[in-house]
């Protein structure tokens, strides 16, 4: 009998297998790979936000020590390469497609943001490449820049892309405007709120890197890159940019040190090193330094919105109207257009029964780094808007903010619940997560803590958000109809080896999430193979079937489901082999965690007996069944999954300095079935750290000329350990109804639910100062200004 002890299956907090190498510094990241004859690339980047390139003089640079080549945008243009493609097409209100201007790998005619690549110097060492890059003389005609959406939309604004009128990428909407207007006409109360969702710079711990190789004997290219989705990069770069057949292009994303969305996209440097490696027939490596990361990794968020909520006399929501401007930056990054539309406006019902919603989104080009999905992607923007609006509505209707939420919650018996903005929620229990969080945070005891803080001269506040999000974006046919230029399924292969150990090939990619453990637990649970004998292979297009990668908290819900399907096939085939070996009917074979049994008897075969028979088919139903025990399944979800829950933040403000301290944070999340509670807790805590970062600390600032003022850790405030409070994480499970695991996803809930909870708490702390709202981040200087202004108000 095959016993799994200690229990390592679903629900066990198995220690992370991958940490043995990570904690010993033995991970293998892209920059750790070095090849014989390898050259180093340094990118020449634009110092200007907007300029015409009159000429690029590479003569001096090319003669410098160690330099092998200096390539410019014009050199790439000569090879008739494609530009960096966009993977999602949005249509305007009038049905016409969005403006989709070219995105050259290296700019040849114009630069459009500080950091835009212009040339690449390739030399024997990184320092020599950098020396040469400094010697490249670019003759710029500096043009006026539009560094903000406001500047880009003004009449007479600089034209960033020829043929893109008013710098407008698209003007999109969702919902029924006429019905909404009727709802507003009949409202007892309309609450209006202007919001800014601050621009963020992702800052994964590992900067981006890329190593391109070309094998002259086979004509094969290999790219090692810091990617969350190597197959997507292979497809986009091979088909759209470099025109290399996918069979001649291998993309490897080895250990990757954090992504948070910023490593989804196909970046210029990947194409530059791969193309250069081909031209020079030598490996070419590029590794970003932190300064380059700030000006070349896709940024996140950056919305300006106006929201209006119509309520009846009892506080029941009648309708929601939203107008949003979304910054795209200078070019369309890979998935940028879908973030402020289908990942944002479709979430505006939240956890509430709002009967009608209309949302209009204008996407704007600016002379800034491209903006794309960042942990949460659209859903944090929707959640921040909605959960701030609920608090303001509570204040202005005089209804308690918890009570107002309860009155509008979708009830547990209303699932499946169809929202007015396209989504159909399958399951949830928002009352339960709220109640559990209120108890865990001792909401009822808050006023006593506030009074105690007041005695110490501190302003204490509490705030909550009862959020909902959508993960595992799918099904492919639906997203295709909405403009996606890709499928959104996932693939899993289960390879049972002759001696019974298992290798799993997955198209999902782990860059910190702990997949090697969580996925192994699925196999342990279903096939009864110990976690130590299950190895997860990911991140290599030469090893794994075509998969879509990791983002949108999809790995378990979509990738895990593919593995479950593949294991079902393994079990089905195993039963036929077992039936043969035990001379029973296949219908009489039962399977449970590694053991095949003839029902009602003590006749059993272990999985290893079956795998041996499958690979050494001496006694085998060879006429009916092929040898081997390896199955692949593709899983295309029927629907999104809908995690939700309640986050409660408690803050204390020092009124003398304006500094906000997080004193407590409570999260009760419904992420569906929990496979590894320890990993879920870590994921939620990490997301909350980023959410608190957005709410209190982080913001990307450009000056009017498009220079990046927050261009380093000296000025961009990343959260540090002492900025974060004790975080209580708990789960309350309702199962996803449409995937085999019942899982919903946990990677983004922290970053989605927490920012409005924190800001609601800050506004609550400032309740004596007449503060209606404030924009993130709540920095000390901003809070001091409010307090100072509030005091002046009181004095007048």
């Amino acid at each position: 009998m095959n016993v799994v002890a200690p229990f390592e299956g679903i629900g066990a907090s198995v220690r992370r297998k991958e940490d043995f190498r990570f904690l010993q510094g033995r991970g293998a990241y892209t920059d750790d790979f070095n090849r014989q004859g390898q050259l180093h690339a340094w990118i020449v980047r634009s110092p200007h936000a907007h300029a015409r390139i009159r000429g690029v003089d590479t003569a001096a640079a090319a003669k410098m020590p160690g330099v092998v080549a200096v390539f410019t945008g014009a050199d790439m243009a000569k090879d008739a390469l494609g530009g960096l493609p966009c993977g999602w097409q949005i249509h305007n209100k009038d049905g016409s497609p969005m403006a989709e201007p070219p995105h050259p790998v290296m700019a040849a005619e114009k630069v459009r943001h500080v950091g835009d690549p212009v040339a690449v110097a390739i030399a024997a060492t990184r320092e020599q490449a950098r020396d040469a890059a400094e010697a490249v003389i670019v003759d710029y005609e500096v043009l006026p820049a539009a560094a903000t959406m406001e500047a880009a939309l003004k009449p007479g604004a600089p034209v960033i892309h020829d043929g893109v009128a008013n710098n407008l990428c698209y003007d999109w909407h969702i919902g029924d405007k006429a019905v909404l207007d009727q709802a507003f006409a009949g409202a007892a109360k309309v609450v209006s709120l202007d919001l800014v969702n601050n621009r963020l710079i992702p800052n994964a711990m590992e900067p981006r890197a890329a190593l391109g190789e070309f094998d002259r004997t086979t004509g094969e290219y290999t790219l090692h890159t810091t990617s969350q989705n190597p197959h997507v990069i292979r497809l986009l770069m091979g088909a759209n940019v470099l025109h290399i057949p996918e069979s001649k292009l291998r993309v490897v994303a080895p250990d990757v040190g954090g992504g948070f969305g910023s490593k989804i996209y196909h970046y210029a440097e990947e194409a530059i090193v791969t193309w250069s490696a081909g031209k020079l027939a030598r490996p070419v490596k590029w590794t970003a330094d932190r300064t380059e990361s700030f000006m070349s990794d896709a940024h996140g968020r950056d919305h300006v919105s106006k929201a209006e909520l119509a309520l009846d006399a009892n506080g029941k929501i009648l309708g929601l109207r939203v107008h949003t401007y979304a910054n795209m930056g200078a070019y369309l990054s890979t998935f940028a257009p879908c973030v402020p539309t289908y990942l944002y406006a479709t979430l505006l019902a939240g956890t509430y029964t709002t009967p009608v919603i209309y949302c209009e989104v204008k996407a704007v080009f600016t002379n800034t780094v491209p903006v794309d999905a960042y942990r949460g992607a659209g859903r944090p923007e929707a959640t921040f808007l909605l959960e701030r609006l609920m608090d303001v509505a509570a204040k202005e209707t005089g209804i308690d903010r918890i009570e107002l939420r309860r009155r509008n919650f979708i009830q547990p018996d209303q699932f499946p619940y169809q929202t007015p903005v396209a989504l159909q929620y399958d399951s949830g229990n928002y009352q339960a997560t709220l109640d559990q969080a209120l108890a865990a945070a001792d909401w009822a005891g808050f006023e006593a803590r506030r009074a105690e803080a007041a005695r110490q001269g501190k302003l204490r506040g509490i705030g909550c958000s009862t959020y909902l999000e959508a993960c595992g974006i799918a099904p492919s046919a639906v997203v295709g109809s909405l403009g996606a230029r890709a499928g959104l399924y996932e693939v899993g292969t289960i390879r049972v080896h002759p001696t019974g150990s298992v290798t799993v090939l997955t198209g999902a990619h782990s860059h910190g999430q702990g997949h090697e453990t969580t996925f192994a637990q699925l196999v342990a649970d279903k096939l009864g193979v110990p976690v130590s004998q299950v190895d997860i292979v990911h991140g290599d297009t030469a090893k794994v079937p075509f998969g879509m990668g990791t983002y949108g908290s999809r790995s378990l819900a979509v990738g895990g489901s593919a593995m479950m399907k593949a294991m079902d096939k393994i079990i089905a085939k195993g039963k036929r082999i077992a039936a043969h070996l035990m001379e029973a009917s296949v219908d009489d074979i039962e399977f449970d965690r590694g053991t095949f049994r003839v029902a009602g008897t003590d006749k059993t075969k272990a999985l290893v007996d079956i795998s041996v028979a499958a690979y050494v088919p001496h006694n085998y139903p060879i006429d009916e069944l092929e040898p081997g025990l390896e199955e692949t399944a593709f899983y295309d979800p029927k629907n999104f999954t809908y995690p939700g829950g309640c986050h409660i933040a408690e803050v204390e403000i020092d009124p003398d300095t304006g500094k906000v301290s997080m004193v407590n944070f409570t999260a009760v999340d419904d992420v569906g079935r929990v496979i590894n509670p320890m990993i879920v807790e870590g994921q939620v805590q990490g997301g909350i750290a980023q959410g608190i970062g957005q709410a209190l600390l982080e913001t990307c600032i450009y000056d009017a000329d498009g220079q990046l003022l927050s261009g380093s850790m000296m000025d961009y405030t990343m959260p540090r350990a002492d900025d974060l409070p004790p975080v209580g994480v708990a789960t309350h499970t309702t199962l996803c109804t449409h995937n085999p695991l019942g899982v919903k996803g946990c990677g983004e809930v922290g970053a989605i639910g927490s920012p409005p909870a924190v800001i609601n708490a800050v506004v609550d702390a400032l309740r004596d100062y007449g503060v209606r709202t404030l924009d993130m981040p709540a920095t000390p200087a901003k809070i001091w200004q409010i307090i100072n202004g509030g005091r002046r108000q009181a004095a007048e």
Partner: protein, 263 residues
Amino acid sequence: MYDFAYHKPATVADAVKLLADPDAKAISGGHTLLPALKHRLNKPSALVDLSGIAELKGIRKVGNAIVIGALTRHVEVATSAEVKAAIPALAYMADHIGDVQVRNRGTMGGSVSNNDPAADYPAAVLGLGATIHTSSRKIAADDFFLGMFTTALEPSEILTAIEFPIPEKAGYAKMKNPASRYVMAGVFVAKTAGGVRVAVNGAGPCVFRQADMEAALAANWSVDAVAGVKQAADDLNSDIHGSAEYRAHLVTVMAKRAVAAAG
């Protein structure tokens, strides 16, 4: 970084000779210079590493003063029994510079010679009325800090030690820049034999003395005495982290806290 020659002299005299090259730079802990070199913001012909010069090390009590060698690391000041006993505010300051890594490598001489407006030590040097010992002379603190990243040191002159008179009482408080954790506004207060001294760092382009607060504290050493003294915002720094007005406000807040800390 760009290429440079590297020298590691054993004596101050040899170091001074090497620094006769106007493009050479002295380095001790390297916590400011190394990042600048990595960013290629600085292109010295040579680095003169002072870390091998024994005479620049050590903390000793001389009469009614604590003399701290230029190469003394922040962690050594923070944990020195002599400093803690004589000038606890200085040990406290050292213990709150940057983070553990910075405190383990950064040196007092490096910090004071660099005179970053957002550094900590200049406030203690000016606030305590310390005397700067160099390879060729002694300079009073009041004459040493000339402006942003500018001191009275000649190009080839090396700060060798700082002599801190032991005050009757002293205190330090600062508000950190949320991103860099450098000083956004800090105040060092001291009641010394020579009178009350108040030095402000972080808020302006260079550490400076706050005469109104000194007068208020001389008349009445108490938190309330400085609470009513407003710092003018006119010449203070203003950036994405806070306006000059905010920093001016913080100067008063930090002065109150510094006095409270001094007791």
